[in-house]
């Protein structure tokens, strides 16, 4: 920020203050302007997605859910439009999380905490709740007066109505959440006819409670005290990141506007453009005075910019006393009065962008090449091996075939690695052994077989010999699994 000598007294002042700050309720003032409009637009879009997504249908054929986005925990399948994930493919979630965090890093290095200011659920729901609060209790001044005043009938019904509306929104939030985990229309009907499971009701109530608490009361405290992101977000920004900034060089020294004084006289007195009207401070949803510089509580929503621009227009000064600006530009303007060149392409933006391209490429490639067959083999450990009457040695394997298609599939199992392998499968015809086995798996199911591999004693050349089990479909594609065959060590 500014040079060391400037901040010195401030630091001393801070150090002597107690570490515990009593929470003061924040009454954000209504703002109009481009950033406010953007925030509304994002809010409507995100809430729209949240509420509509579970209702979108997607035809997957018979015997499969037709919900576009369904996290079927009970059936152990995730459905995302054309993607269907089995539990063992959970690593795609890791990929998605990496992509999300790198995206967050990129956005932060470009424009500060825009995620916090616009897209974070905490911000979106708090914004909605403040709007409801304003609807019932009025503007900032009215709300402060009402909170300080006595309980009257007017205050009672307004508070009650506000809380009722909040709980309604919270209920709708919690209600929508569970639609992602089970078939939405069925569950909605169950809820209406009071037939929903206790699990569903429990989660609705849980999310109703948390929404009501977090958006209604905790609000900015979540950002300041609970969220880890503000703690390390400063590592993502640099001198070329656009962050919400008070242009100190233009605003200081701040002083109230005197009608009798012309702007030239005011400048000659050593005063800047800031008329100390506190509009920026009153507009802030987290109670930040942006003129104190970039700080942890600032969520980068830009509402103070709208508030300040409105005032600047009124008093006939140019907009942008508070703006999304870079550290470099600020220093350059303060020292030389020249605009710094904005650098969009910097090492960190390049690295983050590249990482995003690579990770999305990997996910996309993984999804395209995603096999429709997965096999898993578990060798019997007790007994390690069995000596048969004729001296030959047998190992048993639990063989699982995950048929990730919508059709019933037939497979051929072969084994290689030792001479004279005979295969058989536990069940009715287990005494029929052959060099290859015919196995099958029902659609979208895991078929489990107990496979016996028998070889002549002479083939077992060591206590453990590598063995490869290969499963092929009629179409020719397949999968193989490397395991071992164990026998007596000579």
């Amino acid at each position: 920020m500014s040079s060391a000598t400037d901040t010195q007294p401030e630091v001393t002042k801070r150090a002597s203050a107690p570490l515990y700050a009593k929470h003061a309720k924040i009454y954000p003032k209504k703002v109009t302007g481009p950033f406010r409009r953007l925030k509304w637009a994002v809010l409507v879009a995100l809430l729209g997605i949240y509420y509509i997504l579970p209702w979108i249908r997607w035809d997957r054929g018979p015997n499969a859910p037709d919900q576009a986005v369904l996290l079927d925990l009970e059936g152990r399948r995730f459905y995302l439009f054309f993607i269907e994930l089995w539990p063992q493919q959970i690593y795609y979630l890791t990929g998605a999380l990496i992509l999300a965090s790198v995206g967050l890093f990129l956005a932060t290095s470009l424009a500060g905490r825009v995620w916090c200011g616009y897209a974070c659920p905490q911000t979106v729901w708090t914004d909605l709740y403040v709007w409801v609060e304003r609807l019932f209790e009025g503007e900032r001044g009215d709300r402060i007066r009402m909170d300080q005043g006595k309980w009257t009938l007017n205050k009672l019904w307004r508070k009650a109505a506000k809380n009722a509306a909040w709980i309604l929104i919270a209920f709708a939030t919690g209600g929508a959440w569970i639609f992602y985990f089970t078939d939405a229309p069925t569950l909605a009907w169950d809820l209406v006819t009071l037939n929903a499971s206790s699990t569903a009701v429990w989660f609705i109530l849980l999310f109703t409670g948390t929404t009501y608490l977090l958006a209604g009361f905790a609000r900015e405290q979540v950002c300041i005290y609970m969220c880890p992101w503000p703690r390390f977000q400063s590592a993502m920004t640099d001198e070329d990141s656009l962050v919400v900034t008070y242009r100190e060089y233009r605003g200081e020294g701040r002083a109230h506007l005197r009608k009798t004084q012309s702007w030239e006289e005011r400048k000659a007195d050593g005063h800047g453009d800031c008329i100390d009207c506190n509009a920026c401070y009153h507009a802030c949803p987290t109670g930040v005075d942006i003129r104190e510089g970039s700080q942890l509580a600032c969520i980068g929503c830009g509402l103070c910019i709208d508030a300040c621009d409105e005032i600047m227009t009124k008093i006939g000064r140019p907009k942008g006393l508070i703006a999304f600006d870079t550290q470099n530009n600020l220093v350059s303007m303060a020292t030389t009065g020249k605009k710094a060149v904005y650098k969009l392409v910097r090492p960190r933006t390049i690295i983050y962008s590249l990482l995003m391209v690579v990770v999305s490429g990997m996910i996309a490639a993984g999804l395209v090449l995603k096999p429709s067959l997965d096999i898993s083999v578990l060798r019997d450990r007790a007994p390690l091996f069995v000596a048969l009457a004729d001296g030959s040695v047998r190992n048993a394997y639990t063989f699982k075939i995950s048929n990730m298609t919508r059709d019933s599939r037939d497979y051929t199992l072969t084994a290689s690695g030792l001479a004279g392998i005979e295969l058989s499968v536990a069940g009715e015809h287990q005494s029929d052994s052959a060099a290859r086995l015919r196995l099958s798996a029902a659609p979208d199911q895991v078929a489990t077989y107990r496979i016996f591999v028998t070889v002549p004693r002479a083939s077992v050349t060591a206590a453990s010999v590598p063995l490869t089990l290969t499963l092929t479909t009629a179409g020719g594609d397949g999968d193989s699994y490397k395991t071992v065959f164990m026998g007596p060590a000579n």
Binding site: D380, P383, V386, G391, R394, A396, G427
Partner: protein, 298 residues
């Protein structure tokens, strides 16, 4: 209360009057939230006393109006689990072991149930996975003393081996392999010769002449139970004996020379309890299916 209430100059908080080497204890009140939680807990405990079992009264206790009991809960959840299995258990009860083997659903249910019951009841002697131990036949291989079909296995588990008071037991109680040495039927030379012959059945003989002499001893004493080629009573078609084959790689007590001499000298008579006395029929059927599918079932 102390008469002279002293206030700490720095914090403005009253002191308790306690002083330790000049350090004074401040009389800070408990945090409000803590205090209220404490009161709520007391209130809840009163509600709890009424609702749930709480106070011991000699040999009984206050039952609580909800009538809650962990024992009953357990009994109920066990009954529920049983009821959930009922549709399979009922079918298993009605089906023969051969039919269970053919039905894929029943087979996998019986395999899972049989596995649990095997681990609880059988693995102590026969080993996990039926790997066997000295004197306890391996169940995963393809050598059987009393038959390896599901029906045979069902019968053997049910009646046990050489059990006194069970009608359908395998073999006769107390009747096993003769103690040829101890009872003076064969002398040491003959035992040595017949041992050599038995070893020759699995191509391990070292003295051809001795084995040939042993063959005579074998034909006179052993073929009645073990068969003319040492193929065992099952393959030779001798009922109710359970004499193991002597021409395979599998041995119940061990196939080395010293063990064979010991066996021929002292005889053997393995036993197994009749599980029908301890387990129900449905469980025994599941066990038969499980053992059959260990790998050696015929």
């Amino acid at each position: 209360m102390a008469k002279n209430v002293e206030k700490d100059a720095l914090s403005g908080v009253e002191t308790t009057g306690h002083s330790f080497d000049g350090l004074k204890e401040l009389n800070n009140p408990l945090p409000k939230w803590w205090l209220y939680v404490f009161y709520v807990c007391i209130a809840w405990s009163l509600v709890y006393y009424v609702l749930y079992p709480a106070w011991p009264l000699g040999s009984t206790y206050t039952k609580g109006v909800l009538g809650y009991s962990q024992r009953e809960d357990l009994a109920k959840s066990l009954a529920d689990a049983k009821a959930a299995q009922a549709k399979y258990l009922d079918r298993i009860a009605k089906a023969s072991v051969e039919d269970i083997q053919k039905d894929k659903d029943l087979l996998s249910f019986a395999m899972a149930g049989g596995r649990t019951m095997f681990n609880e009841n059988c693995s102590a002697c026969h080993g996990a996975g039926g790997q066997g131990a000295k004197g306890y036949p391996t169940l995963a291989d393809d050598v059987w003393l009393w038959g390896g079909t599901t029906g045979d296995l069902y019968q053997t588990i049910k009646g046990g081996v050489r059990q006194g008071d069970v009608v359908e037991t395998r073999g006769a109680p107390g009747v096993g392999m003769t103690a040829f040495g101890r009872d003076g039927i064969l002398d040491k030379t003959q035992i040595d010769q017949v041992t050599e012959y038995v070893l020759s059945l699995t191509n391990r003989a070292t003295d051809k002449a001795k084995a040939d002499k042993g063959k005579t001893v074998f034909e006179e004493n052993c073929v009645a139970c073990h068969g003319d080629k040492g193929q065992g009573s099952l393959a030779a078609g001798v009922d109710g004996v359970g004499a193991p084959p002597l021409n395979t790689a599998a041995w119940v007590y061990g196939g080395d020379r010293a063990t064979l001499v010991q066996t021929i000298t002292n005889g053997r008579a393995g036993e197994m309890p009749a599980w029908s006395k301890r387990l129900d029929d449905v469980t025994i059927k599941q066990l038969a299916i499980y053992v059959h599918n260990l790998g050696g079932g015929k």
